[in-house]
Symmetry: C2
Subunit: 135 residues, 2 copies
Amino acid sequence: MDAIKTANTDFYRAFEALSIESMEKLWSHQSDVRCVHPGWSVLEGWDDVRQSWAGIFETGRQAGTYMELNVTDVQIWPGKEIAAIFCTENILSFRDGEQVSSVVLATNVFRLENGRWLMVQHHGSPVLTRPGREE
Amino acid sequence: MDAIKTANTDFYRAFEALSIESMEKLWSHQSDVRCVHPGWSVLEGWDDVRQSWAGIFETGRQAGTYMELNVTDVQIWPGKEIAAIFCTENILSFRDGEQVSSVVLATNVFRLENGRWLMVQHHGSPVLTRPGREE
């Protein structure tokens, strides 16, 4: 359980740091990996997934973005070789002196490969309405 | 693998049939289940998840909706007790003689409980842009 939690935390630290090198280390490089950025279509296979992160990070760096990413509502379904995690990403971005906050809901899937929990899927989605129990 | 695929298929047949009875049978009823309908915030625990499906199905029935749900791009990460599935939901709805087609990306998580693969999470999200490799 701790190792899975750590893998998830590592993902968000890499995201926050806009570090493609860290992303490369924590993702599986197999063809069955999938990634859905909020509102995007699905990306299939490590090459396309890597390219998307590289592009997002490059754009962020060029714009001088500083980002704080705080993860809440963490729910882990731990297995022996597959683990899934749901969490809410609370994102605070600073760019050109402006502060933007956004919320993304994410399901992350990890697989144990050679003793290491590697990401095989990231599915992020935007919150458009909030028809929760209070409404 | 076949049992996991079947659990996923059963979910979409229940969805298509707007059947809360079938949904009740295929979901885990534990407090750690989560459900994100496209654009909604997360629902936590079986009671809220059940209520959301009941409401969606009731609205659909009242409007006389007929729905065809075709699942593509299925990717399964099978474990011994936890399994995750990514898929694209191609939805065709007929209501008042009008046909509406929509695409939802979904990650579904299943857990083996007493020998049966039960759904513990459904995360559906809308496709807003398509910045895929062709663009």
